[in-house]
């Protein structure tokens, strides 16, 4: 249709107007009886008590453009792996300060796996001789805790980062920004799941002494590597970038290997570094996450925008941040994921939702791209039809379809990208997050994987804050 000078976009010269309806079904039926094309919305009341805030925010004349800008910046951001550095150099992280996943929290309210990870990190940094001592010091408030997100970083599960740990550095060339994420330790008993036994701490030392320097040499000598392009490719190879990273990990390894093999290190160390990296099918997660972090950072801070730029959990609270409300967190108690358990573990062993990895869903992949990864249902429960439905349902709460991240089975439709607080509140549809499950007792490690949603109350709270800013 061309733009004509007719008023009301040519409404009165429409050959046979078609109609969308919300509300009384009778009217849709009456239209069908007239051979009119009708699309009925399956309208439901919004989350309780939000009518006034919704009207206010939706009437905000800035919103449409602010969201368009935020969305455009989000999808335009690039993500290249440009460096690998220790946290003290990358983030200026001071000795005695520990980063963690999710919104801010203190020791008192920290859950088992987060406490376990703090203990492990204190031991790793040599700030205590044993776990009891570490726990005592932590409880006494000797150390400083800070969310990864406050330093443009992200950490999976407990997300604990200490100054000596190595971090991948990703750069967004378009918006001139950096984002950081720790190296993946593999599966099983690992720090990010709250384990802190000797094998965990020993592995962290090996990663610091051997793996980090080799990766740094590789990236510096043969990088940078385009992570966003790997994300786009892996979605077409059965990964969703959160709970399934197999193809992505192999593609990343393909990029890193030449530089690793020629690194200045002993052949034994190189062999072990390559074996370690190749054996870990979540190796790529720690690159996908900061890539998504760069995208959401680019969209952040636009007045009037209702786009969600952070979803993160610390094992106790689930927090979101929104482009138009700056650095304020809107939190609620984290839900416990539902899914499949390893070995003898069961629902009672699972800790509430934890980790910054929901940044993948915030960026339009992970649970939002589940249709691209039907195999995922074997790890998180559900069936293939569910996977297809999950992705398609997310279009109801997102601002657009990602131009690069595409889902072959949906005819290469872009993934649902850019969660809109307004749409979540209106539809009551909560973002679908795929996640790993940590044991609730400190030191346990991973107990399973599954699906989870944010607590609903984050969204009306964010909406109310947007309403006060109109």
């Amino acid at each position: 249709m061309t733009e004509t000078a007719q008023p009301l976009h040519g409404l009165l010269s429409a050959e046979s107007p078609s109609v969308a309806t919300s509300g009384v079904q009778l009217f849709a039926d009456a239209l069908r009886g007239q051979a009119v094309s009708v699309t009925e919305s399956d309208w439901q009341p919004p989350m309780e008590g939000t009518e006034a805030d919704l009207a206010k925010v939706m009437a905000d004349a800035r919103r449409a453009e602010a969201n368009a800008t935020a969305y455009a910046r989000m999808t335009a951001s690039t993500a290249e792996l440009c460096d690998v550095k220790q946290a003290k150099d990358a983030l200026g992280l001071e000795r005695g300060t520990f980063l963690h996943a999710g919104p801010p929290i203190d020791w008192e309210r920290a859950s088992g796996p987060l406490r376990g990870a703090f203990i492990g990190a204190v031991l790793f940094e040599g700030l205590a001789d044993n776990a009891e001592e570490a726990e005592k010091a932590l409880a006494a408030g000797t150390f400083t805790f800070e969310p990864c997100h406050h330093r443009d970083a992200v950490g999976p599960m407990a997300g604990v980062v200490s100054p000596s740990m190595w971090m991948y550095g990703l750069r967004d060339e378009v918006h001139d920004a950096w984002s950081w994420c720790s190296l993946n330790e593999g599966l099983g008993k690992v720090l990010r799941y709250g384990a802190y036994g000797p094998e965990v701490v020993d592995r962290l030392h090996w990663m610091t002494d051997v793996l980090g320097p080799i990766l740094q040499q590789s990236v510096r000598s043969t990088g940078p590597f385009d992570i966003k392009s790997i994300l786009a490719q892996m979605l077409q190879m059965g990964d969703e970038g959160h709970n399934r990273n197999r193809a992505g990990s192999l593609m990343l390894l393909r990029e890193l290997l030449p530089g690793m093999i020629t690194a200045d290190a002993s052949s034994t160390d190189i062999a072990e570094a390559v074996r370690f990296s190749g054996a870990n099918e979540h190796f790529f997660l720690n690159l996908g996450m900061p890539a998504c972090k760069l995208a959401t950072m680019a969209a952040h801070g636009i007045p009037g925008s209702s786009l969600v730029t952070t979803m993160a959990r610390n094992g106790t609270d689930f927090g979101i941040r929104v482009s138009g409300t700056g650095d304020e967190w809107f939190t609620g108690p984290a839900n416990t994921p539902e899914g499949l358990f390893l070995g003898d573990y069961g629902p009672d062993d699972a800790n509430p939702d934890i980790g910054d990895s929901a940044i993948t869903e915030t960026g339009g992949i992970g649970g939002f791209a589940m249709a691209a990864a039907p195999a995922i249902v074997k790890f998180v429960g559900g069936d293939v039809a569910f996977a297809l439905r999950a992705t398609q349902t997310m279009y109801e709460i997102t601002l657009g379809e990602h131009p690069m991240f595409q889902v072959p089975i949906l005819d290469f439709r872009g993934t649902p990208t850019g969660i809109d607080v307004v749409s979540v509140v209106r539809t009551g549809i909560l973002p679908q997050i795929n996640t790993g499950m940590a044991g609730r007792v400190a030191g346990t490690g991973q107990v399973g994987a599954g699906l989870v949603t944010p607590p609903a109350e984050c969204f009306p709270a964010a909406l109310a804050a947007l309403a006060t800013r109109t």
């Binding site: 008023p7 429409a14 919300s22 699309t39 539809t427």
Partner: protein, 492 residues
């Protein structure tokens, strides 16, 4: 001893009209004595309690209550099963393997269907959000929902003007765009008359009279009952006039409205004068012509004969002027009520109403008075938490029975609106109520039927059903009102 079942389903929303139909289905099950399937709004909880059901604590407006009382356990189970079946039949189809779920918001539905128009009929407190959503998606809006604040109305209309779309409403009952009837609408032929309507039933009455006169309409654009009030300032009317003036299918325009504010009318008249085609006014008010008379003037100006309007006059009614007692007008259409009241007041003087001509004539909350009374059952105040009386006539039916038992009631004046959206067989129920009302007393009943032969219910068929019950039936609301007045001996 009967058995009762009440269960609460959280977050299972269905619209009130659908639930009304489901409740009726359940009530029809053998052995079921009482049934109500409703959202747990304050009003519905009251109704349920009144019916003797205990509503669980903490039930809110987003929760569904299924309440059934029946002779025994089996009948209760059958009732609940009928409710389940009716509810699932009403739910949106879930689609096949891997199909996209149904759109959940108005804008999503607009995008999915490439719609030019959004018809929004969600409860009033959610309507602003949906309308803004539709405007943002570039569609014009027919906002059927009522109980929208005037501030929100102005905000919506300004947003619509910026987006070059039209907001028809709030509380817009009827519209017709390019031959597509929206909301409550009659099946009328197409023709050169464009209509702008700040009144739903007023527009329906005019369209039906036009149709009976053999003239058709190009479009009927609703603007909402308050558009010609100072607070709204004719915002949608202006847009609608401009659009119709630019439409090649429209050669003249009629504006129909409940009593407008004078300065808004004056502004619009001078705006309309520059549009290059005749714009005529059927705007109610003291000293201004009634709907039928205004329409007759339009016909004459178009060079069209004024026909004799269809009527079915009952025999056996009392002689003119012989009835003592007062006029009782029970209307579903607000503008029809206004039209009748303005006309009747000329001879009867003061008429009490819930939509009074003067503030001091307002009825109390019990809606009772010994003198002349006209009630609009479609008014916002009587539709909160329930469907419009054109869909759910319960309240008016109860009142008809009450009037029949009230010796101060001298003549009953009723309206009945046919067409899409209205009750599928309104005449049958109403005829029964009229028969009951006339039982054992002399009570003339006059019905103003707004409808066409093309309507699903059929004008003649409907009129004959009512006439058989002893009512006099008129297509013209004016003629119906005048006929009712003759009994009171004051029409001369």
């Amino acid at each position: 001893m009967s058995t009762t079942h009440v269960d609460l389903r959280r977050g299972a929303y269905h619209d009130s009209v659908t639930l009304l139909q489901v409740s009726r289905t359940v009530a029809d099950v053998d052995g079921v004595e009482a049934a109500q399937v409703a959202m747990a709004t304050e009003l519905n909880v009251e109704v349920l309690t009144g019916m003797g059901f205990d509503v669980p604590e903490g039930a809110g407006p987003n929760d569904l209550v299924v309440a059934v009382r029946a002779a025994d356990e089996d009948a209760v189970a059958a009732g609940v099963a009928a409710a389940e079946a009716a509810l699932s039949a009403k739910s949106a189809p879930s689609g096949g393997f891997g199909d996209a779920p149904a759109p959940r918001t108005t804008a999503a539905a607009i995008r999915a269907g490439g719609a030019e128009i959004a018809l929004i009929s969600v409860p009033g407190r959610y309507a602003t959000t949906e309308a803004l959503d539709a405007i943002g998606a570039g569609a014009s809006v027919m906002l059927f929902s009522d109980n929208v604040s005037v501030e929100d109305e102005v905000m919506l209309k300004d947003a619509a003007a910026r987006a070059d779309v039209l907001v028809m409403g709030p509380d817009c009952g009827t519209a017709s765009v390019g031959g597509v009837a929206l909301g409550f609408a009659n099946v009328v032929s197409s023709g050169p008359i464009g209509m702008v309507a700040a009144s739903g039933t007023g527009a329906q009455q005019l369209m039906c009279l036009l149709d009976a006169a053999g003239l058709g309409i190009s479009h009927c654009l609703g603007v909402g009952g308050r558009d010609l009030k100072t607070a709204v300032g004719g915002r949608s009317t202006r847009q609608a006039l401009a659009a119709l003036a630019a439409d090649p299918a429209t050669t003249s325009i009629v504006v129909v409205s409940k009593p407008p504010d004078e300065e808004v009318l004056a502004d619009l008249e001078s705006y309309a004068a520059g549009l290059g085609l005749p714009v005529r006014w059927a705007t109610l008010g003291a000293g201004r012509p009634d709907l039928t008379t205004a329409l007759e003037a339009v016909l004459e100006a178009e060079g069209h004969d004024v026909p004799e309007w269809p009527k079915w006059v009952a025999d056996g009614d009392p002689a003119p002027g012989s009835v003592t007692g007062s006029l009782r007008g029970l209307f579903c259409g607000g503008t029809l009520a206004d039209d009748a009241m303005l006309l009747a007041a000329e001879s009867l003087g003061d008429i009490r109403s819930n939509i009074p001509l003067r503030d001091d004539l307002a009825l109390g909350s019990d809606l009772k008075h010994d003198g002349h009374v006209v009630i609009d059952f479609g008014d916002d105040g009587l539709t909160q938490g329930r469907a419009h009386p054109m869909i759910d006539p319960t309240l008016r039916m109860e009142r008809i029975a009450a009037e029949a038992a009230d010796p101060s009631c001298g003549v009953l004046l009723l309206d009945l609106v046919l067409g899409y959206g209205a009750h599928q067989d309104p005449a049958g129920e109403l005829a029964e109520a009229i028969r009951d009302a006339k039982q054992g007393r002399e009570l003339p009943v006059v019905v103003s039927v707004t409808g066409t032969e093309g309507d699903p219910q059929g004008l003649t068929r409907t009129a004959e059903t009512l006439a058989a019950a002893g009512a006099s039936v008129f297509l013209s609301n004016r003629d119906a009102t005048r006929h009712a007045l003759t009994f009171l001996g004051s029409a001369s």
